[in-house]
């Protein structure tokens, strides 16, 4: 079946540095790709999404890049802060099907 996965399960970043979290996907028919952030003891929280006809989308301190040629998605966090420490999930969505989530990457920010 289709799957959404990640290159790295954990990532440690120095406070103030930029973070890059990667994700590989296999369903080229997906309409949207989405990033969620899950802090300890909480449910996932929507961060940013990108439509499949776009290559890049910027939000507040976050940028999502989509490379459809190699089916790769990344989330870039600028000037990483301690509050960014969490597990980050990529997900893909197409039409009326439920969101499919990847396994997640744990981001640890070193003060």
């Amino acid at each position: 079946g289709e799957s959404v996965g990640l290159h790295l399960p954990t990532l440690s970043v120095q406070e103030g540095d930029n973070s890059i979290i990667n994700c590989a996907y296999s369903n080229s028919a997906s309409d949207y790709f989405i990033w969620y952030k899950q802090e300890s003891g909480k449910g996932p929280q929507f961060i940013i999404d990108i439509r499949s006809n776009m290559d890049k989308r910027q939000g507040q301190r976050v940028t999502v890049l989509l490379n459809k040629t190699v089916k790769h998605l990344s989330l870039q966090i600028a000037a990483t802060q301690p509050g960014d420490s969490a597990v980050y999930f990529c997900a893909e969505w197409s039409g009326n099907t439920p969101l499919v989530f990847g396994k997640g990457t744990r981001l640890s920010v070193i003060a």
């Binding site: 949207y32 909480k42 449910g43 996932p44 999404d49 969505w93 969101l99």
Partner: protein, 115 residues
């Protein structure tokens, strides 16, 4: 309330017992999801309700699992004859739909422990 509310936040039960987990979605949201998250793992889709349509039950792992949504609002996930492998965090989410990407609003989950 302003967000998705789940109860109980923690549930400890004995193997073989039935449990019911409750989800109160955001008012006005037409779509409701249940996901399961095992320790250190990703989110496993269980079931999806959208308006008055028949629910998508394709993710339910066995016939011990069932869910209903009454009046298009509150949902209850029932696990019969619980097994130890059912131990996980059960997350509920709701969404408005029709906004392009399916932005889900999650509750904090119910931590289920089966002894």
């Amino acid at each position: 309330g302003a967000g998705v509310s789940q109860s109980p936040s923690n549930k400890v039960t004995e193997k073989g017992k039935d449990v019911e987990l409750r989800c109160d979605p955001i008012s006005g949201h037409t779509a409701l999801y249940w996901y399961r998250q095992s320790l250190g793992q990703g989110l496993e889709f269980l079931i999806y309700f959208q308006g008055n349509s028949a629910p998508d039950k394709s993710g339910l792992p066995s016939d011990r699992f069932s869910a209903e949504r009454t009046g298009g609002s509150v949902s209850t996930l029932t696990i019969q004859r619980t097994q130890q492998e059912d131990s996980a965090v059960y997350l509920c989410a709701s969404s408005l739909l029709g906004q392009g990407a399916e932005k889900l609003f999650f509750g904090s989950g119910t931590q289920l422990s089966v002894l």
